[in-house]
Subunit: 345 residues, 3 copies
C-alpha cells in the first residue's frame, strides 16, 4: 500500500478534545462514520431509538433502502460482522456487493485504498469496510464520494460494535447512566471494552469494575479517560466472584492463550474468568451479561438459558443498529419514525 496513514499518531486513539456533546446535532446524511467520538450524544441516542423502532416495525421499514447498494469491503475476514452489515441492508430492501479476505489479492494488485474507494464509489451508495491497518477507514472516507462505515480497523475503532453494546445495555436497563458496569477478561487488548468505556464516559455517571488478571489490566490511557469524566469511577480487581454481586452489567471478553508467557499461567487464570451458573448465584437477578462473541469457553453453555444472558440478543441489536446507521447515512427516512431529538436549525 502506497499510502501513509499519517492521520493516526500511534498514541491514544481517543480525540478527547473534539466531543461535540452539546449544542446542535447535524444530520448524519452523507457522512462517514470512522469513530463514534465525533458524533454528538443526542445523535447516538437517536440511532438507538431508530434501532428500537426498526425492531418493532420490521414490515414498515422493509423498503426504506429500495434501490440502494451496500459494498462490504473486508480486507480481513470477519464473517459475523460482514453478515450483520449485509443482512441489515437486505432487511431494508437494498442490495449487497463486496469481497472478503480470501479475494483480497485480486483487489489490491498494488492499488491504494484511495483508488479502490474511488472505484467502489461508482458502484455502491454506501460502504462497510474492515481493514487490518489502523487509520485505513479514515483514508477511505476521504477518498470515497459515498459514506463509509468503519467495520473495524486494526486495534483501533469499531463503532458499530459499540453501538451494539449501547443498544443492549439500554434495552436491558432502560438507561446508559447510573449503572455499575463490570468489564471482565482481557482488558489490555480488548478493543470493544476500551471503546465502550470511552463512549459511556461521555454520558458519565457510570461506575466501572475492571476485572482481569494482573497480566491483562486496563491500559493507563483508558483509566485516564475515566478519570477525566467527573461523574465516573473505576476500581480494578482480579476477583470476578467477589465483584459480581455489585454489577448491573457484566461485559465478558475472551482470555486468549497467546497473551500469556506460559501455559500454566493461562490455565490457572482462564478458569478464574469463566462465567458459570455457580458464579451467577451471587449476581443480581436483573444483571445483564454481554459478550461481543465469538465465545470460546469463557461463558459455559448452561448460562445461555439464564434470563440474564443477553449476548445472543446483542447479535440482533447489532443488526438493528446497523440498519439504523445505514439508513441514516443514506438519508433514507424510516417510514413513521419521529425523532425525539430537538431538531437543529
Amino acid at each position: 500500500m502506497s499510502e501513509q496513514f499519517d492521520d493516526h499518531s500511534g498514541e491514544s486513539p481517543f480525540t478527547d478534545s473534539v466531543f461535540p456533546d452539546s449544542g446542535s446535532a447535524p444530520t448524519l446524511k452523507g457522512r462517514s462514520v470512522v469513530t463514534l467520538d465525533d458524533i454528538p450524544l443526542p445523535r447516538i441516542e437517536d440511532l438507538l431509538d431508530r434501532a428500537a423502532y426498526i425492531d418493532s416495525h420490521r414490515r414498515e421499514v422493509a423498503h426504506t433502502c429500495d434501490g440502494r447498494v451496500l459494498a462490504t469491503l473486508f480486507y480481513e475476514p470477519s464473517t459475523r460482522t460482514r453478515l450483520s452489515f449485509e443482512t441489515a441492508m437486505l432487511r431494508l430492501g437494498g442490495q449487497v456487493i463486496g469481497f472478503a479476505g480470501a479475494q483480497l489479492a485480486s483487489v489490491s494488485k498494488g492499488e491504494s485504498i484511495s483508488d479502490t474507494l474511488k472505484t467502489v464509489s461508482n458502484y455502491a451508495d454506501i460502504v462497510a469496510m474492515r481493514h487490518p491497518k489502523e487509520g485505513a477507514a479514515l483514508v477511505a472516507s476521504r477518498a470515497a464520494s459515498v459514506p463509509i462505515i468503519n467495520a473495524g480497523d486494526g486495534g483501533h475503532m469499531h463503532p458499530t460494535q459499540t453501538l451494539t453494546d449501547l443498544a443492549t445495555i439500554r434495552a436491558r436497563k432502560g438507561r446508559l447512566t447510573h449503572l455499575t458496569i463490570g468489564m471482565c477478561g482481557d482488558l489490555t487488548f480488548g478493543r470493544t471494552v476500551h471503546s465502550l468505556i470511552s463512549t459511556l464516559c461521555r454520558w458519565g455517571h457510570v461506575d466501572f469494575v475492571l476485572i482481569s488478571p494482573d497480566e491483562l489490566r486496563t491500559p493507563e490511557y483508558v483509566l485516564e479517560r475515566i478519570d477525566a469524566s467527573p461523574t465516573c469511577t473505576y476500581r480494578e480487581t482480579s476477583d470476578l466472584g467477589g465483584a459480581i454481586g455489585d454489577l448491573d452489567i457484566l461485559y465478558m471478553t475472551r482470555v486468549q492463550k497467546e497473551r500469556f508467557f506460559n501455559e500454566d499461567d493461562y490455565l490457572r487464570l482462564r478458569d478464574t474468568y469463566i462465567l458459570d451458573e455457580a458464579k451467577l448465584r451471587s449476581a443480581k437477578s436483573d444483571m445483564a451479561i454481554l459478550h461481543p462473541l465469538p465465545r470460546v469457553n469463557e461463558i459455559t453453555t448452561d448460562v445461555d438459558k439464564d434470563p440474564r444472558a443477553a449476548y445472543f440478543e446483542q447479535v440482533r441489536n447489532g443488526m438493528l443498529v446497523r440498519m439504523a446507521l445505514e439508513s441514516a447515512l443514506l438519508g433514507d427516512e424510516l417510514p413513521g419514525y419521529e425523532t425525539k431529538m430537538e431538531v437543529e436549525a
Copy 2:
C-alpha cells in the same frame, strides 16, 4: 469444535424404526430437515408436487418469499449445491447471505456450531448448511431458532439430493414404484445411492440392480434395508452391459481412482463402467439416465444428446425441489397451489 456429535452412532445412518409412513402428515412449517427419514411419504410426494407446480408457474411464485433471507453456511465448499439453494431463494423473491469454505477460518475462531447457528438465527429466516462432519446438521437444528436444511454432512445425509433424484424419476416415469432401477459405479461410498435406495424402499415395489466392481459393492446395511422391504428385491452384478436392457432407470456415479489399491485395477474397471452410446443400444428406449454430477468421464459426452439423458434436467429439478422445500419450511404458501394430500386434522 467443542461439541460431541453424540447423536450419531457411527453405525447405520438409517433409523428404520421411525418411518412415520402412515397416519397424519403434519405441516413442514418451521421444521428443520436433517434427513428425509422422518418426513411422511405423503409430505414428500407433496414436495414433489410443489416442485412440479413451481416449474409451470415461475411467474406466479416469484414473490412467494419476498422479504425472506436464506443463509448458506458451507463449512466445506460445494459450489453447485450452494448455487442451487441460493437460486431457489432468489427465484422465490427472497435474498441470500452466507459464507463458503474459503471464509471458514473467520467464522470459527473456535466457535461452536451451536453458537454460530444461534447467531445466524438472528439474521436469516432459514439456513442451508453443509459440513464435513456427520451429525453437524442435527446439532445445528437444535441450536437454531429457524429451520435448517441439511445440505450434506459428511458421508451421512443429503436430503435435497434425494428429493432431486425422486423428482427426476417421477418426472420421467410418472411414478416412484414398479420400476427396475440400476445403480452403477461406486456403490460402497456413494452416499446419494444409499439415501435414494433407502427412501425408495419406503414406498416399496422397486427391483434394484446393483452394478459395481467387486471392490465397490453395496454395503451390507443397505442390502438389509432392501430385504426389510417386502416388495423390493435386488441383485448384484459387475456387468453393466448385461444388465442395462432390464432397466427403467440407470443411476450412474463416479468411480474414483483413490478407491483402488493399484492403477491397473482402476484402469481396467473404469472403462467397464463408462456409459456410451454403444452400451445404450441395448437399453430400453424410455430408460432414464441419472447422475448426481459432477461427471468426469463415466458418461461420454455423446450421450448428452440422447433423449434418455436426464442428468441436466436433474439439475433443474434440484433447484425446483429446493424452492418447494424452502417455501414449505418458511410456511410461505405458493400462490394458486392446491395440495393433493389429505389435510390433517
Copy 3:
C-alpha cells in the same frame, strides 16, 4: 479440464475477415458476446447510446431486469470486474449468484467448462465468465443455453473493457473518429490496448501514437491491423513528453516490472512513462486521460483532480455499458429508450 480449446489458433486473435460492418444489425437478444469483432458497428453504437440513456434515467431503468439472475463465474479473481457486472445487474433490478477464484476447487472437481455451463444455465438467465485460458468463453457460449458475456479469457478478449473505453472516448470527445489517440506504456502485452485499436480501426479515421519503451513495442499483427484500415495511421515513439501535445486521448497502461530483464532498465524506463502534472502542461486543455485501472504509480495522484483525468468516470462508464449489454442480451427493453439505429427488416 478435458476440453480442447481448438477454436483458438494461437495466432492473431483478430478475425479480420468477419467484420459485418455494413448491412443489417440483428438484435443482440439471446446472443453471447465472446468478442466485439462480430457485433456490427451500428449495434455497438446503440449499446453506447443505451449506456448514456441509462446514466440519465437511473430511476426509470431500475426494474428493467426484475426477476432475472446473473451468474458471475470467475475462474480467476478479478474483483473490480466482477463487482461491475454484479452492480450492473442489481441496478437493473436483477439478482446475482456466482463464485470467484478462491472457490474454484469446488467447482471443477475435474468437471468440464461445458458441463458447468450446462448446469448454470439451469440457474441463471445470463452469465459473465472470466477464465485464464484463451478460448474458454467460446467453449462456454456453445454449451450454455443462456447468453454468456466474456469477462476476459487469458490474454485474449475482454469486450466489456473495450466498450468501457469507447463509451469514455465518446463521452469526452463526442465522437470515435477524427481523433489522435496516444497509447502509452506496455504496448506488447496490453490486451486492452490491442482490443481498443482493433475496434477503433473498424470505424477508421484515427491517428494512433504508440508510446512505449523499445522493450514493450506494439506487436506486428496490431500494426498490420492499423495498416489494413485505409483511413488510420500510426507512429511509434518512446518519448511521452514529445508526443503528448498532439493527443486528443491519452490511454495510459501499467509498465510491469516483470517484463524487464533487469531492475535498472525497469527503474530508468518506468519514470519516463509516469504521467504527472509537469508533463500535462504540454497537453491540450481538452485531452482526456484514460486508464483501465488498477493504477500503481504510472499516473501521479495530483493528476486525479485535473479535469482531463477521465479514469474514474471510466469506472462508471464500465458499469453503464454492462447494464446496457446485460439488458440487451436478455431482451429486456429499457423503458423510454428509442434506438437511433435503422431498424432491420
